[in-house]
């Protein structure tokens, strides 16, 4: 039976039909019809954020933690432009987010109307696809298609711009007529989507056979796994490949938790802040099997000197990634789980004991001193202990992000969430709200520096109003620490505009009716972090850490993985 519904009601229905249960948003003029219809759809839980950027990051966090589409909503103009950073972060890290924006009414478009922006034009390069709905009869199909496009193949964000008069237009509602996919009826602006687009460089079978042959003949093989392993949930397959061949495993920043820390074959994170032995392993490897990573410049350093002896086998869902950043000997286009499973079947069992022993010889130990013994390692150990190793860690961007990546002992898959590609400060606090909604029975810690925390700390109000028990850790060193580190190393220690003042975080938390704690000494860690972790609602812990601590080692930007900085340059104090 059909019925007359407004565009706004259709929008709500279509979201419910697509299985959406939570949306993050902020109302405003051009999206008001949608907000008028929303209370009639209690299946859609709306989280009122304090800034639209937080809505996009929260939807991203929800998507990464659940593997389902995260949805955010904003009004036209400033509401829509505030989403941009969050959409760019989701685009860089392949997170399926659907953003719905209000737009001025169709007769006003192009006339520089109040709160009009060309959000389609603005978001073209940071979305997989975007739509401006010109006719209400298309709306249900567009929503269904957007939800499908966001998760299909290599995931990413999609934006739907809905003019206000389209939201108010009434039409007979029949639901979505198409389900998006290869067989759908083509519609303008939406064709050509297929999971493995483009010509493949030979079949997957050929690639797997060649890869197995290279692995068999290798003396010093390495596995490098990235976000694709988490997106494809290829954990068991990667582990089986490593264990059948004895090949040591490197996890990129976004691949962390794709392979268990502490496994005898796990080496750690590569690249700019990778440990010396990890980068040395890369520089000495003769075969590298890269699964679901894009050989980002933070991983490779200078590509001209990256892994000079290695023939690279690259497995990626996106054909355009093969050979984009580094030359590849064997490129295999396909889903990480599927291809790795085939590779496990094709490789002969072997061991790499001498090679692993060789890598062990590269391991360096460092001794650093920290104020109050409050080392990043001790803080992270206290969070691990308090949560019994069972929580999701969401990090922001900067020094703390690298410490967490290197030092937190991840055991469970997909429990490390961070803004990798875009490196968006302010990500952790709102993204953690999304993670909580995806995993309501789990504990979520949002770890930020004092800089990034202050970017989106207004979201504490969202946590209180919406009942989101996110635990917040603030690593406070009084500096924009990573930038200060670069100034110390590369800019003559001129700390230009990096000292940053903070409010009293304990009082701030109190103002939001959240329990707040301050830790100055390692001896307080177990008690305070334990109490914060046990709070039924949100809680905030500030850690007063060493002001000029650095993240070591460090490959200078554009430098070779063979030449790490392992101590502060002479004349630069602080260590």
């Amino acid at each position: 039976m059909s019925e007359m519904l407004s565009g706004a009601e259709i929008l709500c229905r279509a979201l419910v039909d697509a299985g959406v249960d939570v949306i993050f948003g902020y109302p405003g003029g051009a999206i008001m019809p949608f907000y008028h219809a929303l209370p009639d759809h209690p299946q859609l839980r709306h989280i009122l954020v304090r800034h639209e950027q937080a809505a996009a990051h929260a939807a991203d966090g929800y998507a990464r933690a659940s593997g389902r589409v995260g949805v955010c909503v904003a009004t036209s103009g400033p509401g829509a432009t505030n989403l941009v950073t969050g959409l760019a972060a989701a685009h860089m890290d392949n997170s399926p987010v659907v953003a719905i924006t209000g737009q001025v009414s169709r007769p006003m478009i192009g006339r520089d109307a109040f709160q009009e922006t060309d959000i389609i034009g603005i978001t073209l390069p940071i979305t997989k696809q975007n739509y401006q709905v010109q006719d209400v009869t298309e709306l249900a199909d567009v929503v269904a298609e957007a939800m499908a496009v966001a998760v299909a193949g290599r995931p990413g964000p999609v934006l739907i711009d809905v003019p206000k008069d389209v939201q108010n237009q009434k039409v007979e509602y029949r639901g979505a007529t198409t389900t998006a996919g290869a067989t759908q009826v083509p519609r303008a602006g939406a064709r050509g989507q297929s999971p493995t687009p483009g010509a493949s460089p030979g079949s997957v079978e050929d690639g797997v056979r060649q890869a197995a042959r290279l692995i068999k003949g290798a003396d010093r093989p390495l596995l490098m796994v990235g976000h694709g392993v988490i997106l494809a949930e290829a954990y068991a397959e990667v582990r089986a490949l490593a264990e059948k061949t004895g090949i040591p495993v490197i996890t990129t920043l976004l691949g962390i938790s794709g392979f268990p820390d502490g496994h005898p074959l796990h080496l750690g994170m590569p690249g700019m802040h990778g440990e010396v032995h990890v980068n040395r392993a890369i520089q000495n490897a003769d075969v590298i099997i890269g699964i679901g990573l894009r050989f980002d410049d933070r991983v490779t350093g200078n590509t001209a000197s990256f892994a000079p002896q290695a023939r690279i086998i690259h497995i990626d869902l996106d054909r355009s990634e093969i050979g984009k950043n580094v030359p590849v000997a064997v490129g295999i286009v396909g889903d990480a789980r599927d291809v790795t499973r085939r590779l496990v079947a094709a490789v002969e069992p072997r061991r790499c004991e001498r090679w692993v022993e060789h890598i062990r010889g590269f391991v360096r130990t460092r001794t650093e001193s920290y104020r109050g013994d409050l080392s990043p390692e001790a803080i992270l150990a206290s969070i691990y202990e308090a949560s019994h190793g069972d929580c999701t860690i969401v990090t922001d961007v900067g020094q703390h992000q690298m410490w967490v990546a290197k030092l937190y002992p991840y055991q469970r898959p997909n429990t490390h969430i961070t803004s990798g590609g875009l490196g968006a400060m302010g990500f952790a606090v709102p993204a953690a709200m999304g993670v909580h909604l995806a995993r309501p029975n789990g504990t979520v810690w949002a770890i930020s520096g004092d800089g990034g925390f202050q970017m989106n700390m207004a979201e504490m109000a969202t946590m209180v109003q919406e009942g989101l028990p996110v635990k917040m850790a603030v690593f406070n060193n009084g500096y924009l620490g990573m930038v200060r580190q670069w100034q110390q190393f590369f800019h003559e220690k001129r700390y230009s505009c990096t000292p940053i003042w903070s409010p009293d975080y304990v009082k701030l938390a109190e103002a939001y009716s959240i329990p707040g704690y301050r830790v100055k000494d390692a001896s307080e860690l177990a008690d305070v972090v334990g109490r914060a972790n046990a709070q039924p609602g949100p809680a905030l812990v500030e850690f007063l850490i060493e002001q000029e601590a650095n993240v070591f080692p460090m490959i200078p930007p554009g430098g070779s993985l063979s030449e790490p900085i392992e101590a502060a340059p002479a004349g630069a104090a602080g260590d």
């Binding site: 034009g121 975007n130 496009v149 602006g189 939406a190 989507q193």
Partner: protein, 94 residues
Amino acid sequence: MSGVLSPAAHTVAVLLDDALVTLNRAFGVLRRRNVPVEGLALHPSGTAGVSRLTFVVKADAATADRVAQQFHKMIGVRSVMVLANEDSTMEAKR
């Protein structure tokens, strides 16, 4: 130099929806991927609703292929063809 063996210019022909947003996205790919483009042209394809975008990439085959792959994954693109320009070595010497 590899330019002697591999033609230094390639023509890429993309068949795509002639929706403005699709064309906008296509030009955006060329701009944002920093593609060395010459001689951009847009024609009707002979099929209603489909345009043919052709351009010359002043680069080797591998680079032209990478450009083509960026179009392959774009929604609204129906096919992509890469042709080596036979006289490109001459052009490159100009």
